[in-house]
Assembly symmetry: C2
């Protein structure tokens, strides 16, 4: 067995048990528990395991595999399987997003991801945005239960897809590790989440216990670990990101930015961690942009402007149906560098034939029949300004400048797909050496997988929670002022963006 | 709060929590856990509790009662209740017999029994005797489940009766402590119990974990503790009897005899415990006796013979319908002392007009139209011989005689009702000073109550299990020989029964 196979939230141990006889008639439970390694400590026995001792043990000639699951504190014998099944040992980790759920089937022996599936969160039918869902469930046990069930069903759908692809049922899996924000975890546990968004922001729980999967509606044999959160707006998905990036282990300073509907931010290193969160706005996810869409077939995801012509890449290689986040950032960066957009984010009508008056405002026609409007640009700039200002404000708070930053992590599916150069150009990312900008992808999912494979991370996360200082941006006075300055492209203070200035100069635009 | 209120399997603690505000917005879970006494250790939170934080805490102005339940190792916050409900704190203990279930609602603060209810075990429809039930469920998951459900339904019926009488629902109760024999506990957990009666007698479990009441189908908030057993034929009901009598604490030697369908026996003191079990036969419960019946309305439960006339007491004071265990022992003792029955247990026809030939054998007409037959007597004598021989054999094994015995406990509903003198006369009890014969009643139930009120008894029981040496009588060579000698009244060896000899002499029969 590999080390990984021993460190995760479940274990499988093959046992060749002495066969009961007239002089050795201890109970099956005792016979199995005695055969387990002492290092496991006192092991409990699930009802399912006890019920399966017979006829499994007898039929398998007392050569059986003990399937042990970790409940966060101690081991439980979850089941008994005939013969040696140690090599078939699986767990599931997941990122529970408000829009998208992603789950991975993980080989607990090798740490290998055998299958990854994503799907929409079925709670969307109670509201695209979280607040609508929260109001839907508010003060109603029945509706809170509907929302909970929708979360569970979303998972079950993914598990079904995983089973279709791999033939491995969730029933054969041990643990489920979930990372999600505070609202999503409230929903999953069947809790009214109004507290997350309403003063005094004292939520029901930030550190849920490990519950038996069946108690939460999942068919797995073991327990469900939900990453704990630090505050109402700083949830388990961010803590999971910490475990994924391990920024808390390094001497060098890191900035961790997760931009989605909300923006969450952590700055720190092995000595300190400061965290904050704020509304980033749905613009980055294509929410309020008129032709915005998710990164799926038909979405423009790459844009460049060459010789006054817009060149596009469309997901699925077909006809463009709209534009997703990375396309938007490319489009704005390219328009800015080509003088179609000024520093204040205003479309320059005379700069290109693509820019026309449309429905009472200026708009750029980026694809046949598809327009990106002045008002869309403003939405986007507010969002990027919010994210940028969070970083700026917090850097000030801890007395640091961008020059002190060793690594700038951009988390979230969104961050992953945005072109680094475009991100810097529009002022979404700081203008630092590009290799220090790390587009880390779904760190929430990655951290969930790390946890699944190493149960000791639980204590690590609890230490991080104690260490982490949380700043609530809403309470900050000069935030609005800072944000206004950050709405320019790339920023009112050009000095912060030397490489962008250089590029503008190269193009003869400065 | 009384000491008892702190020592049991659940606790209630009234809390006046700080009200969340802008500067104090820890989660409800954390707020409550922080307010609990440190001595409780790390406390888990049930899903039900977390779901009830809101609106209970807010509506109760953060003055709430924490309902804590013990899972055998640590505390769990099972629920939160508005206001101070510490005085309303209940638990349930039960004796799970193959024929009868008895449950008690206990005030966890005072230890008082608020209500006791008994009812038939609904498993009876799968067979009056245990073996028939075992064969019914053998190798069938579905039928094993039917048997399990019948056990649960039997409990729910009692809980319903308790609620009717007291207005206290099991949903308001914390723990459930159950004492039952190995088969009954197997059935309750949904286990095939064939192993209990078949070689090599290695059962599924002798020491089940504490399971959440809901997992076993009970509506209580806490956990179910089932007394562990020592062997297939020496179950949790006997261990519970140890806790009830505390014989393991005394210097003086005790014999503990539980006679029902089976006979279980423990001999020991604070230094050693030897236990054994054997088939006693259903004669004592009126099973195979032709006009035998349970101790209910219409049963003859007391018999005396005065001036050649049979005087009866009938339960319910109405007409006699049959005879129960205590009536049988009285009847035989009285007939023996009056010369109607000889030492070999043969009816002496000429001794009384009540003795007549009936259906090809001798029989005594003990009530109008009701006969006790020669064959009934033989059944009874086999049973009493089995019990007596167990005691005799085990005394020999440990090298002791009756003179060494300080206390002779007779457990079980049956033992309780048998007249001490009659019991000695027929040789069911040893001929020792009557105040050393303790008719202890339902020690299984009493031990369950003690456990409920003192969770530390769990460790005590586990130490007893380790200490207890189990002897299997089936394997004993001279058992049959000893038993034949014990079939006489009171015994082939009259010297063992000096007080009976004296009485016979007084009556001029010796």
């Amino acid at each position: 067995m590999t080390e990984q196979g021993k460190n995760g939230w479940s274990r499988k141990i093959y046992l060749e048990l002495p066969i009961p006889n007239e002089t050795d008639h201890v109970s099956d439970q005792e016979r199995i528990l005695r055969a387990l390694p002492k290092e496991l400590g006192e092991v409990r026995c699930s009802l399912q395991a006890v019920r399966n001792f017979y006829p499994v043990c007898r039929d398998a000639d007392w050569k059986v595999t003990a399937f042990l699951v970790w409940d966060g504190r101690s081991w439980e014998l979850a089941d008994i399987e005939p013969g040696d099944t140690v090599k078939d040992h699986y767990g599931i980790c997941a990122d529970l997003g408000s829009t998208t759920l992603t789950a991975e089937l993980v080989d607990m022996n090798t740490g290998e991801v055998l299958c990854q599936k994503s799907g929409f969160n079925r709670q969307i039918r109670f509201g695209e945005d979280i607040l609508t869902r929260i109001f839907y469930g508010k003060d109603s046990k029945e509706k809170t239960e509907e929302i909970r069930q929708a979360a569970v069903d979303s998972f079950l759908e993914l598990f079904g897809k995983i089973e279709q692809d791999t033939g491995i049922s969730p029933k054969e899996c041990g643990a489920l590790v979930i990372a999600g924000n505070t609202t999503m975890i409230h929903f999953l546990l069947g809790l009214d989440a109004f507290c997350v968004f309403s003063s005094p922001y004292a939520v029901r729980t930030l550190k849920p216990d490990c519950y038996r999967a069946k108690e939460l509606g999942f068919p797995l044999k073991g327990y469900v670990y939900c990453y704990p959160g630090q505050a109402n707006y700083l949830g388990g998905d961010i803590l999971s990101g910490m475990v994924a990036t391990e920024l808390y282990k390094r001497e060098g300073l890191s900035v961790f930015l997760d931009i989605g509907t909300n923006g969450e931010l952590v700055i720190g290193n092995r000595d300190f961690l400061v965290a904050g969160a704020g509304a980033a706005g749905p613009a980055l996810e294509g929410g309020v942009v008129k032709t915005g869409m998710r990164a799926e077939t038909g979405a423009v995801d790459r844009v460049s402007i060459e010789d006054g012509q817009i060149c596009l890449h469309v997901l699925g290689e077909g006809e463009a149906r709209g534009i997703c986040g990375s396309g938007i950032v490319d489009l704005l960066a390219q328009m800015f560098l080509n003088g179609w957009l000024d520093m204040r984010g205003r479309l320059v009508k005379e700069a290109s034939d693509h820019i026309t008056e449309k429905e009472g405002e200026l708009a750029v026609c980026y694809a046949p029949g598809l327009y990106f409007y002045q008002s869309d640009i403003e939405e986007f700039l507010k969002t990027k300004a919010a994210a940028g200002t969070m970083v700026e404000y917090m850097m000030q708070e801890v007395g640091l400048t961008m020059g002190d930053i060793d690594r700038f992590y951009v988390a979230g599916a969104f961050g992953t797909h945005i072109d680094k150069e475009s991100g810097v150009t529009v002022g979404l990312y700081p203008d630092i050496s590009r290799d220090r900008i790390l587009l880390s992808g779904n760190t929430s999912l990655l951290g969930a997988r790390r946890m699944l494979l190493c149960r000791e991370e639980k204590e690590q996360v609890e230490r991080l929670l104690e260490k982490m200082v949380y700043i609530q941006f809403g309470a900050v006075d000069n935030f609005v002022h800072l944000m206004a300055a950050a709405e320019a492209i790339p920023h009112t203070d050009y000095a912060r963006y030397p490489s962008v200035v250089e590029e503008l100069k190269r193009r003869g635009r400065l």
